[in-house]
């Protein structure tokens, strides 16, 4: 990797960490959506939600596979996607705090999804212009799937926000509760800045206004009020992307990793 002004090994370590940041949000959210399997409110929704989860898992795998290859360039060896997913502890996970929040009610799940999807699409569109060809290719592939995710979750936000009195209250409550995790979506730290300067990473600070515009349009149609920014979690360099998580991630990983850790050589 060139362009960061760092020695190659340090630059690769930076890139490795960045790829984990991309991968882990997808994988953790996929695991959360997996918790709904067989419990969705209706059969159709159960299948649709699971499709989204599987899309995210597939994208997470692509990022992890690349991360492992980058790791092999500067470490004694690179870990494969399974090792990276199943044998890292919570403090080594680099996902956004938003996606590790519990499923709650279906309103909570949908609002979380909507806030993430609206960010995810803009993130991938920006990454599709990365100078790193592999990143650009993965982002271009993933953005096709995520375009549908946005459409789907936006549709639900409108229908339930502008639905019954009960659904409106639940959606607004979910929105108010999750809003504090949206600041982290647009918070860049020093390693982000170095990779943005090199033309490799996406500049998340530039995504904030387009995101607010798009989210605001959907919320207006849904008759939901956009919360004001109060205390935002994880924005001062100590958030999920730096490995500082809420207690929910540990429980999620315990479930997700229990089988491979109990039987490391298990094969399908």
């Amino acid at each position: 990797m060139t362009g960061t002004g760092l020695p190659p090994a340090s630059a690769d370590a930076l890139l490795f960490d960045y790829l984990l940041r991309l991968a882990d949000s997808d994988i953790v959210l996929a695991q959360r959506l997996g918790e709904w399997v067989g419990k969705g409110p209706v059969l159709e929704e159960d299948i649709a939600q699971t499709n989204v989860g599987l899309d995210l898992l597939g994208q997470g795998r692509l990022w992890l596979a690349y991360a492992g290859e980058v790791e092999a360039r500067y470490a004694t060896r690179g870990r494969d996607e399974n090792e990276l997913a199943y044998f890292r502890d919570g403090s080594e996970y680099r996902n956004l705090l938003l996606v590790e929040q519990p499923n709650g009610s279906y309103a909570d799940t949908l609002v979380r999804q909507f806030l993430y999807d609206a960010w995810h699409l803009r993130m991938l569109d920006a990454l599709a212009r990365s100078r790193d060809e592999r990143i650009a290719a993965i982002a271009a592939k993933a953005s096709k799937e995520v375009r549908y995710h946005v459409e789907r979750s936006s549709g639900w936000v409108v229908r339930l926000g502008d639905g019954t009195d009960e659904s409106h209250v639940r959606m607004q409550r979910a929105l108010d509760a999750l809003w504090m995790y949206t600041g982290e979506l647009f918070a860049a730290d020093a390693s982000d800045d170095a990779l943005v300067a090199a033309g490799i990473a996406a500049d998340v600070t530039a995504l904030r206004e387009p995101w607010r515009q798009a989210v605001g349009d959907v919320l207006a149609e849904a008759t939901l009020a956009m919360p004001s920014d109060g205390w935002m979690q994880g924005v001062h360099g100590r958030g999920g992307r730096q490995g500082v998580h809420s207690e929910h991630l540990g429980q999620l990983l315990a479930v997700m990793q229990s089988l491979p850790r109990a039987m490391p050589d298990a094969r399908w």
Partner: protein
Amino acid sequence: MSAGTEWPLWEVFIRSQHGLAHRHVGSLHAPDAAMAIRNARDVYTRRNEGVSIWVARSADLHASSPDERDALFDPAQDKVYRHPTFFPMPDEVKHL
């Protein structure tokens, strides 16, 4: 719909990669037409089955009655002259 708590049923028609016409593939529940199309996409096109989706409220479909089957369809059985099998086809004419 019982007291507005159940979503209406929709019939789903998919046009496959190679097909010219939409074919009935099944039914599903959805609150409105747009969601019915999305649900159909997720339920019926997961394995690359289609390139186009139609949905219609099941309540809006009208079907012939099985009781009328004889009256409607039997008379056609002995009228072979209705089949275009008595005309020689030039070899140059394709796709008939």
